[in-house]
Amino acid sequence: MATPLIKLDNISYQYEQTKALTDINLTIEEGDFLAIIGPNGSGKSTLLKIILGLLKPTKGDVLLFGKPVNQFKEKERIGYVSQKSNAFNTGFPATVEEVVRSGLVKKIGLFHRYPKNVQKEVRQALKSVGMENFANHNIGDLSGGQQQRVFIARALISNPKVLILDEPTVGVDSKNVRSFYLMLTHLNREHKITIVLVTHDVDAVSKSISHVACLNRTIHFHGFKNDMDTMSDEQLEAWYGHAVRKVEHRNEVQV
């Protein structure tokens, strides 16, 4: 069996006195499109930060491409798109091109300039998110959804195997959410990029994903999206912490 791209082994995390995550086991294989869903404060963003090595778990191991996270040096193989709302100030004087090419910083390394053909790479990354005509625009002039696509292009420019997104549709207006997820599906299926995202809009994302992990401090369900339908009401209630109603429509599971 191929080495999983991401493997969390018995992860726990504690913020001072509060337990944020307990005994998390999660394996993400190549080609997966996993949505980590859960209520506010369920530890979703904390989990992503642990995967990225931004937070050190109190207990357990994180393996990236089979290597412990602190020994994993090829960070460019993992593209990260943080929550837009707190990531940058919209008045920043930079063009889309300047932002996208900055995704190559780690790959190029210190003491080196951007290569001559960087513009071509930028155009290509922008093309794969449908933003090729915006290279010279100021980043602050774009809509929330467009900015988010630019940030994905910034992550894609270093040719990552995995794309990790934290609440990518926050600040994207609802009519564009669908096309945003379609673009992610395209990246997953055509460009063979494994995608892990954290979200609470289960409804919009459910057509795109292959796997679901239901998180509330610990993982209550992880498996194929279709198997989520088999979760009993008791399991759902235990996950969400209060009574929830499972609504099925258009083959989607909504909670």
Binding site: G53, Y80, S82, A87, S102, V105, N136
Partner: protein
């Protein structure tokens, strides 16, 4: 004017230092402003005051050190202050801005003590507070040159990394950049530029040369490259106009440079209003 510059060494020193500072202060200032660290520059300039006043006092009381250039202790104080600010920012994680009033008042407090201990360096002190056209020595000029070399080298090496760090700190950390170290180096370089610029612009106004030209440039820039280009252009304009008018009108150059910067800023704001769409809109 050109004739006077050719004739008098002090004018050569002032103009050469001014022209260099006009490049490096706004250049570094672009990063300071976009990283929302403008007030830290102010705090550091006040710490520099403590170093300068301390040095002037030492020169006065210890005969052997009478010729000590106050810039050295000024630089030392400023760099130490920058490291303390970082320490405090980590200590008060949720109230990062607290570091600024703490360091600023510490600087002013020590400054006030040294100034009152030593009596009679008021004219020297005035030139340190508001800048001077006549007090820049050849040695000061060389210090500014060395600082400029350090700044340019630092930016050549870390330009890409600083851009990422400024634009999106979390992303920088997630992509494995040594964000903490780059930031500490950045603060130290900022402290050097503040100490170096102070001879011309003065302690109280030094941060303005790092922020006002950038504030003006940001009004009309679409890209980061443009922001840097316009910041340096405006910085140089302010220094040249400021120094010339300070020389002819016998004013403190800190004042004339800052007022020129303010006028440039107002013009960019107005020009944006007049053209509605922005001077450089495509």
């Amino acid at each position: 004017m050109i004739e006077s510059i050719l004739r008098y060494e002090f004018l050569q020193n002032a103009f050469a230092s001014g022209l260099i500072i006009g490049v490096i202060a706004p250049l570094l200032g672009v990063f300071i402003v976009v990283r929302r660290l403008s007030l830290i520059a102010d705090a550091l300039s006040h710490v520099t005051l403590a170093g300068i006043a301390g040095s002037l006092y030492i020169s006065q009381s210890i005969g052997a050190l009478a010729l000590l250039n106050p810039l050295y202790l000024g630089i030392a104080a400023s760099v130490t202050g920058s490291l303390f600010i970082e320490r405090l920012r980590r200590l008060y994680k949720h109230y990062e801005e607290l570091a600024i009033p703490i360091i600023m008042s510490a600087g002013l407090g020590f400054g006030a003590i040294f100034i009152s201990l030593a009596e009679g360096f008021s004219s020297d002190l005035f030139s340190y507070l508001f800048g001077s056209v006549s007090a820049v020595s050849r040695q000061d000029l060389w210090i500014v040159v060395i600082i400029a070399v350090i700044v340019i080298l630092f930016l050549c090496i870390f330009f890409k990394e600083l851009f990422v760090l400024s634009f999106d700190e979390e992303y920088a950390k997630a992509s494995g950049l040594p964000a903490k170290w780059i930031h500490v180096l950045f603060m130290v370089v900022t402290a050097l530029v503040i100490a170096g610029s102070m001879r011309i612009v003065g302690i109280l106004l030094v941060s303005s040369l790092m922020t006002l030209p950038v504030a003006a440039a940001m009004r009309i820039s679409k890209s980061f490259k443009q922001a840097i280009f316009f910041s340096i252009t405006f910085g140089e304009l302010a220094v040249i106009i400021g120094l010339v008018s300070a020389f002819y009108l016998d004013l403190a150059p800190g004042g004339t440079i800052v007022v020129t910067s303010i006028i440039i800023l107002l013009l960019t704001i107005l020009s944006k209003k007049w053209t509605k769409k922005g001077v450089l809109s495509q």
